[in-house]
């Protein structure tokens, strides 16, 4: 990769992983400056450094230059090569921080991805493993990326972690397929997973009972399974959490939400708050929940040179999504267009023309 290619400038550490993923997919070099330049601990955090190491491992020919203070970074992407290896994640962030960006790179790799992540498998304010399994992977399926597996070998709760997860992406495709998701699906049932590590198994039953009592008002079937981890496979810290998601007969996509307990939080409090937030999420979502919208937008952009359409709720358009769309424009020079939807209340149709991205290691017929 030539070092004379012009750099595209970004500022602050916001959307750090997404910007690096977009740069890798677009093949354009970026410079990120002002990384916590006014913070007590300026510069890159340990998890960001760890992510850069991971990015270096899954690509060939990438050049990463970090300034002496760590407050600016130049990234010149190479080719996505994938491969089999393991990655130790710092306990400051959960493994999902590393897995989700890999899901966006893996389908366009030269070789299959088989990565074992070691670290924290659940963290407050971050999505968990069940969220990825039941939320992100079905979304990838909608874009034609199949054969993605995430195996939980060990669960590792906050703070001491000890979890182990195996990500396998066998599907290598030239480009995502164009989607037209113009129907908000009806929900046939609510499902969930209540899990715990190194605590009494009765905790998961309390989570299930409490969530059921809230969700009963919908009149819908509620099926929550329990997942109790014991012994060596349960990591180094006690913890518990709950993931709730919808099932629909017509669409593989799910509305999904999860949470983990923090110090002193009872299972009843956690399940009750999550269940109400879950109803709120269903009300305020288009085809997919907000957390999956960024992945959907990125796959829409790198799709075929055709118009993709996706229904979003007005409330889902926030500053984070605006930042993403600006970043997409900087790197791919393509724009999203929103228009009113007549069929559903509070809904907009997001349209975007794919850039006709081609996987460097695949030939398109």
């Amino acid at each position: 990769m030539s070092t004379t290619t012009p750099l595209i400038h970004f500022s602050t550490h916001e959307k750090f992983t997404t910007r690096l993923v977009l740069a890798t997919l677009s093949g354009k070099s970026i410079k990120i400056s002002n990384i916590r330049s006014d913070a007590l601990n300026p510069g890159l955090e340990d998890y960001e450094i760890s992510f850069l190491r991971l990015l270096e491992s899954v690509t060939n020919g990438s050049i990463i230059e970090i300034s002496y203070t760590g407050t600016s970074l130049i990234y010149r992407p190479g080719l996505i090569t994938g491969g089999s290896f393991s990655h130790n994640c710092p306990s400051s962030r959960s493994v999902s921080y590393f897995i989700i960006p890999m899901l966006m790179l893996a389908p366009f790799s030269k070789k299959k991805f088989s990565i074992v992540f070691r670290g924290l498998t659940s963290n407050k304010n971050e999505v968990g493993l069940d969220f990825i399994k039941w939320g992100f992977i079905p979304l990838m399926d909608k874009f034609g990326i199949r054969d993605v597996e995430l195996h939980t070998l060990k669960r590792g709760s906050y703070p001491n972690a000890g979890g182990e997860v195996h990500l396998i992406v066998n599907s290598l495709i030239p480009q995502p397929i164009t989607v037209h998701m113009l129907e908000i699906p009806n929900i046939s049932s609510v499902r969930g997973i209540a899990w715990c590590t190194r605590v009494s198994p009765s905790v998961v039953n309390r989570l299930v009972d409490s969530a059921r009592s809230v969700l009963r008002v919908t009149g819908c079937e509620v099926n929550i399974t329990t997942d109790v981890w014991r012994g060596e496979n349960s990591g180094k810290s006690p913890g518990f959490g709950l993931t709730l998601f919808t099932e629909s007969k017509k669409s593989p996509l799910r509305y999904i939400l999860d949470d983990v307990a923090e110090n002193g939080e009872t299972p009843e409090d956690l399940a009750e708050a999550l269940s109400y937030s879950f109803l709120e999420l269903i009300e305020n979502s288009g085809c997919v929940p907000r957390s999956q919208l960024e992945m959907a937008f990125i796959f829409m952009v790198i799709g075929k040179e055709d118009i993709g359409r996706l229904i979003v709720n007005r409330d889902q358009i926030d500053s984070g999504l605006v930042k993403l769309m600006r970043d997409i424009k900087s790197l791919f020079n393509t724009e999203f267009y929103f228009q009113e939807d007549d069929e559903y209340d509070n809904a907009l149709i997001a349209t975007c023309k794919g850039i006709g991205f081609t996987n460097a290691s695949k030939k398109i017929a």
């Binding site: 009149g219 709120e280 930042k323 724009e335």
Partner: protein, 111 residues
């Protein structure tokens, strides 16, 4: 730009790509949360120019780094508000129920 007197409905398609408007402001303008008479276009944080207007005190006061919340849908609404909103018989719940597919048996049970 500073004395723009904007009295119109903002178009989201234009606001998204106006780099001179901070994304948060763009959303606020779109949702008409701001007083349109007193609007001033503030430079985006990505522009890197906001630092020039800081006074000395602010410059030397180091700020604690905030953890950025990413990809999480957890509502910031209070539990009491949510309980009230989703109470049996509430409008929100009745409206949401239309999106749930119920079997004949479930319908009878609900009735």
């Amino acid at each position: 730009l500073q004395n723009l007197n904007i009295k119109k409905t903002w178009n989201i398609n234009k606001l998204i790509y106006m780099n001179n408007i901070d994304p948060k402001d763009a959303i606020a303008r779109w949702k008409q949360e701001e007083e349109s008479d007193e609007e001033n276009i503030t430079p985006s944080s990505d522009e890197g120019e906001s630092g020039e207007e800081e006074n000395d005190e602010e410059f030397f006061t180091k700020k604690e780094d905030k953890m950025i919340e990413e990809t999480n849908d957890k509502s910031k609404l209070t539990l009491s508000f949510l309980k009230e909103k989703w109470a049996p018989g509430s409008k929100s719940l009745d409206y949401l129920k239309k999106r749930f597919f119920l079997s004949a048996k479930q319908r009878i049970q609900m009735e």
